[in-house]
Amino acid sequence: MVETVAEKPGPLGDGSGHETAGPARSVLTGTEFAAKYRECSRVLWCIAAGVVNDRSLADDVVQEAAMIALGKLDQFDPSTNFTAWAGQVVRFTALNTARKCNRERMLAAAIRETAGGGFSAGRAENAGHPPSALDAEAFDDDVRAALNELDETARECLLMKTTLDMAYADIARILSIPEGTAMSHVHRARKAMRTRLLAQGYPGGPAR
């Protein structure tokens, strides 16, 4: 069956378990791997987003990492935590993606500079003027910028805690860090973000 890549049609897998006919390198079959990967995909997405700090890139990273992890399934030790293992693959994939994006950004910036630097000039005019109207969009932009200033692990911890309401013990297990470290990452990240936003003139974020 031919599918259009742009339209992202539904799954092709029929779950027939055909892969069990292949040589057994891992306890997991391809179908089982896909099910487990899907089960923890939101956590993996947080890891990806923590590294690349971009929603659509995070989607791509989780998809790409799925294929890489599938190819390395024989390296998975079933006695270990699947999410932690898949999280490592996602992390490396995200780091590679982030590196590529940084190169592209640098290239684009160089091109803009050559072309006259209009974008940079426009931004410079607005610099130093915190938004007077507390509209949600401007606030979100500043939160995005504040998120961007956190280090990757802090961002991963913060996203897992805030958006998935995960326990620190679970975050710690997945990221292979001590539980106390996961907690202090979250606490420090929150403090840094609100300090930064308060300093920019937001008394308590946008009016709701």
Binding site: M1, V2, E3, T4, V5, A6, K8, P9, G10, P11, L12, G13, S16, E19, G22, T29, G30, F33, A34, Y37, R38, S41, R42, W45, A49, R55, A58, D59, D60, V62, Q63, A66, M67, I68, L70, G71, L73, D74, F92, N96, F139, V143, R144, A146, L147, L158, L159, T162, T163, V186, R190, K191, M193, R194, L197, L198, Y202, P203, G204, G205
Partner: protein, 268 residues
Amino acid sequence: MTLPRGHDRAPLDEGPLDRLEVYLDGAMSPGEKAEFERLASSHSALRRELDAALAVHGAVRRLGTPPTTLGLDALDAAVGSGDATADVPAPIPISRGRVAPAKMGRWIGYAAAAMIGVVGVVWWSSTVPDPEARRVLTAGQVLAVAHAEGFKPAFVCKDDAEFVATVKNRFGTGLLVASTESVAVLGWAYSDTYGADLVSKDTLVLMARVEGREVLVFMDRAPGERVLKPGDVPAGYRLLRKPVGGLMLYELTPFESARVIDAARIVD
């Protein structure tokens, strides 16, 4: 928790801020929570911190909540193709030329080739520590290069058997795409000459002409190291794909439907 007299204007020390984190963690009992909120309402600095913290919390949830369902169609396609854990043979690069070594110098030629191979492997392993760090090409870039070079293949198979062998040498699976009345299979472009990867370093690029229009087909293993994405597609083209045996075939075409990969079949 209590605060000193005049606390509503006093700067905050670490105690209430630590409690704020516990509050945000949702780790307070209902009684502790009510007390903390009462305290915050009577202390402007704490109230300000709490308001800011809640605003940040809300924004992070808005901006950072993962999608409910993630599109993992490539994974499903790969798993559905049944080759997820199959043995993948080492890639064997296809030959670049068709000049046979002279009979008298055949063994010298083989020895030289072996030496070049060994030197190449040693050089590669010492200079390219991370194969995944190679530059990534998009389907559109390959098409642009192919157009710039006049859409001329670098290698043309002399017959179907050589075509099948070429694919088999690379991926361990024999596959044939034969020309038909409307599809002219032109030959192969070398994706590795771009110094970058499309799906992986082993991707084969097949050039074809369908009803006079140029079409590219990319072949690689399924699952490949990379999944070609809609963003790779130049304007006026569509990217279609089809798993065939252990391979994933992509067709970059100006037509609505696949013409070339539909004709692909496994030959062993």
